[in-house]
Structures are given as C-alpha cells and as structure tokens.
C-alpha cells in the first residue's frame, strides 16, 4: 500500500488509513444504492461523528462524487459517458498490443498520473475567484466604491476596478448589485454571454447553463451580447440573453431579489422550478419524480434551510420526501392510505 510507502505525505496531509478509506467507500456504495434503511443512515452518521479521519475520508468521497456529478448536467449524459467508455476501451486495446510487442516501459506512469495534479484546482476555476459564496450561503459585501453586492448560493466573481471603469466578472451563480454613484467610471458586469452596463442602481445577474438572466429593480441596465446586439432593460423588467440572442423582456420575478433576504418566493410556478432552485442551495442529490414535477406551488420558503423548505413542500403538496441521507433526497407522489 502506498500509505506505508509515503509516511511523509501521510504526516503532511493527515491521510486517513486504508481501512478508513475502505469504510468510506462502502458507506458510499450503500447510501447511493437506494436500499439504505433509516438504521443504516443512523449508523453512517455515528461513523462520521466517531473520528475526524472518518469525516476527512468522507470529504474525499464527496470530492470524487462531485467530479462525476459535473457530467450529469451535460446536454446528453448517456452519450458523454459512452464517448468516454469507447475511448477508454480503445486505449486498453492499444496498450495490450504495445505490451505484446515490446518491453513494458514506464507503463506504471501512465494512467492517472498523465494528468498533472494542477489540473485539479483548474477544474474548479470559478472557486479561485476573488469573491465567492459556498453552496447554501447567501452573503453580502461592500466594494471599494461603496457598491453593495450580495452573492447568492455558490456564486463567484472577480472585481477589476481601475481609473476608467468598475468591472465585475461573474464566473458562477447569481449576484444582486446596488451600485454606488461614480460620474467618472461606468459600472460593468461581464458574463460569458455578454456585458452589462449599469445606468441605474439595483439589478441581479444570474448565470444559467448557456445564458445570462438580468433582472432590474431600480434604474436601467444596458445589455451588449457577445455578438454585439444591445438593449436597455428598465426597472421592473427582466431579460435573458445568450451570446447571440436576446429573449423578450418580461416582468421581473420577485424571487430574483427575495433571495437576498433568504426567501424563495414561489407564485404559481411548477414544482420542478422550485426543486431546481433548492438544488442550488443544497449539497448533494435531490431527485424529483416526473409525475409530480408539474404540480403548481404557491408560498415562501426558507433558503437558508432547504431541508425545512422540503418539509414545507411536503405539507403543502401531495408529495413524499424521502431522505436516504442528508445529501441524498428524492421527491415522489404521496402514497394514499
């Protein structure tokens, strides 16, 4: 085992023992299997509470699981997985041929180590941004010019202020901005789809998969898409845009501002949208059965406690919330007695 081979590394990183890693892997397999019972869950929590090493091993499990999860939201996960699988099968065949024809040289170095460890941090590029919030966290900060920014869950942005402009680069999530006046320097927000110029004071910018959502609550904001199309969005309006297209303006959703106060506002929207929103605040898996996805939802729900929000949904709708474990929950139709 490499653990005994690298005592220095073990000392530096406080690496959990092989046995602890094995236990963590077994807990993971049981908890995600769908067959875990309440009693399993209780035992797992007791195991977690037992030792810091257990929690550390579990943290590693979550990191690995997250890496796979980033592929779940790709346009076609099945195709993505199959593409990867085919490429791996070909590689294995080629290596086998190579082994048959020549001395096995340096093959132990191939595989995982072909990727420099530095690619791990790059994977989480957004998380090296100057300002960021954790999943489930909503926080606010004041920039040098007095501009106030609220970060919604899992948001990240960089601040580039100079003598000519005040520019925020949004990398992930959603921010609500109340700009401070500055006659000399325009206030700009850049997203992958385009650039926003504040002509007024209060607005939110939210990154979605392939587009940006802008909602304006005071003043006005000018959008310039990456392809050069421009439009001004007035207070009380919101608008989505991609790199090439501007969607039509619609009334600003109150929810786009209410999150600042930790409230999820639902006014006659389908359950799938509410769940989509809660997923952003909650670590781990939250499944939704298709037969209940279109139920309409009214109400205000606490964002700082997404699990309490799930309970409230459970009272208000004919649904059942099943929790396999804290980061693994699913919603389906209630079983009628």
């Amino acid at each position: 085992m490499h653990h005994t081979a690298s005592p220095i590394a073990a000392a530096v990183s406080g690496e959990p023992s092989h046995q602890v890693l094995e236990q963590a892997a077994e807990w993971y397999a049981l908890l995600r299997s769908g067959d875990a019972t309440d009693s399993d869950r209780t035992h797992w929590q007791a195991w977690l509470a037992q030792q810091p090493q257990h929690r550390q091993a579990w943290h590693c499990v979550e990191q690995i699981s997250n890496r796979f999860e980033s592929l779940q939201d790709t346009p076609d996960p099945r195709r993505t997985a199959e593409g990867l699988w085919t490429a791996n099968e070909r590689l294995i065949k080629r290596r086998r041929l190579l082994r048959g024809s020549a001395i096995v040289a340096g093959t132990a170095l191939l595989g995982w180590q072909t990727l420099p460890p530095s690619s791990l941090p790059r994977l989480a590029r957004a998380w090296s941004a100057g300002h960021r919030s954790a999943t489930g966290e909503i926080r606010s900060l004041v920039l040098a010019d007095g501009t106030q920014v609220w970060l919604n869950t899992a948001a990240a942005f960089d601040e580039h202020y100079d003598i000519n402009q005040r520019l925020l680069q949004l990398w992930a999530g959603e921010i609500l901005i109340a700009t401070a006046g500055d006659a000399q320097r325009p206030f700009l927000v850049a997203t992958p789809q385009g650039r926003l110029r504040a002509l007024g004071t209060r607005f939110t910018v939210r990154l979605e998969e392939t587009q940006t959502l802008l909602a304006v609550f005071e003043g006005a904001v000018e959008i310039t898409t990456a392809s050069g199309a421009t439009s001004v969005v007035e207070a009380g309006q919101q608008r989505r845009f991609s790199t090439t297209a501007l969607a039509s303006a619609e009334p600003a959703d109150l929810a786009r501002e209410a999150w600042r106060d930790g409230i999820l506002v639902a006014r006659d929207i389908p359950l799938r949208e509410v769940v989509g929103e809660l997923r952003r605040y909650r670590r781990g898996y939250l499944g939704l059965a298709p037969e209940v996805a279109e139920l309409r939802v009214f109400g205000n729900f606490p964002l700082h406690d997404p699990d309490a929000a799930l309970d409230l949904l459970g009272y208000a709708l004919p649904i059942r919330v099943r929790r396999t474990l804290p980061w693994w929950a699913s919603i389906d139709a209630a079983v009628m007695p």
Partner: protein
C-alpha cells in the same frame, strides 16, 4: 532509488545527448506533427528523471527499445486524450448551438472527462462501467444491474471497489504533489 552508482540525473543527461534527436524524429514520423513530437520527446526524458529505468541499460539497442516503447505509450495516451476531446465535441455538435454550454463550462467538462477516464482505466471493466452509469447517468443500482446482467448486490460491490480505488489514487496524487513540486 539511485543506488546504481551514477545518479539518475547524470544518466538521463547522457541519454538525452545520445538519443533525444533520434527520438524526436521517430515521434515526428509517427505523429506527423513536430510540436506534439517535441512535447512527447521532452516528456519521455522527464519521466526518466522522475522514475529511472529499473535496471539501467546494457546496450545501445536496449536503450532505444526502451525509449521507443515509452514513447509509444505516450503516443497512445495522446491519441486517447484527443479521442475523448473529439467525442465531447461530437456530443456538443449533436445539439443545436443555442443549447451549448458556455465555453468555460465546456472546458471544465472536458477536464473532468479526462480525469474520470484516467480514474477508471485500470479498473476491472464491469466495475468501471457500473460506476460510470450510476454516477454520470444517475442510474440506480437496480437499473445498472439490469443493464450489466449482474445482481444489484454486485453493483454495490463494484461501486465500493471503484470508490476505494479513486480514493487511493486521489491520496497518491495529493502525496505526489506535496512531495514533488516539479510535477505541479
């Protein structure tokens, strides 16, 4: 590691002088691209520094055979990385452009794909496939079991096996980065 008399650095220095030009040409012919060839030739010698050949070399021919087989392995890895990239681009191309993820996200997914590919490579194929289907396609153990023609208990074993392997690789990787800043 270097109890063979000469330190590994010196060995590689001599090897480099004698074989680098030849290796570069060999790779160039194989890859049809001078830049890729230069990168891989460089990589071969870097690997020799990091992990010297187990018993040294007793002849000119043996040295070249060893270098060639290392270079061959690196070519295969390069093609593999390009294939994963191509498969991902094909997946994206199959969708209307307005639904494409942002360039940043595309790059992140590609990196995740390369990492996951490497994580799954040395695992038993059925276990790797069970993990991939369960994690990426969000399939339950039962669904995975039906597709692979095994029991769901077996799927759970596979998942635990792969997770343990990934944990070990991650630990090794972290240790390597801590011990060897040149790799970073």
């Amino acid at each position: 590691m270097s109890d063979r008399g000469l330190g590994p650095q010196t060995d590689v220095g001599i090897l480099y002088g004698e074989h680098h030009g030849w290796l570069h040409k060999w790779l160039w012919r194989r890859l049809g691209n001078a830049t890729d060839a230069a990168d891989l030739a460089h990589d071969v010698f870097l690997r020799l520094i990091l992990k010297p050949a187990p018993r040294g070399f007793d002849s000119f021919g043996a040295t070249r055979a060893y270098l060639r087989s290392m270079a061959q392995g690196l070519c295969i890895n390069l093609w593999h990385r390009r294939e994963i990239e191509q498969a991902w681009l094909d997946t994206l191309a199959a969708r209307p452009e307005q639904f494409a993820p942002s360039p940043e996200r595309q790059a992140m997914v590609l990196e995740a794909l390369q990492e996951i590919s490497a994580m799954l490579l040395d695992l038993p194929p059925k276990a790797a496939r069970a993990f991939l289907l369960g994690e990426v396609c969000r399939m339950t153990d039962r669904e995975v079991a039906d597709e692979l023609g095994v029991s769901s208990r077996m799927v759970r074993k596979y998942v635990a096996q792969v997770m343990l392997r990934c944990l070990q690789l991650q630990a090794r990787d972290t240790a390597a980065a801590l011990l060897d800043p040149h790799l970073a």
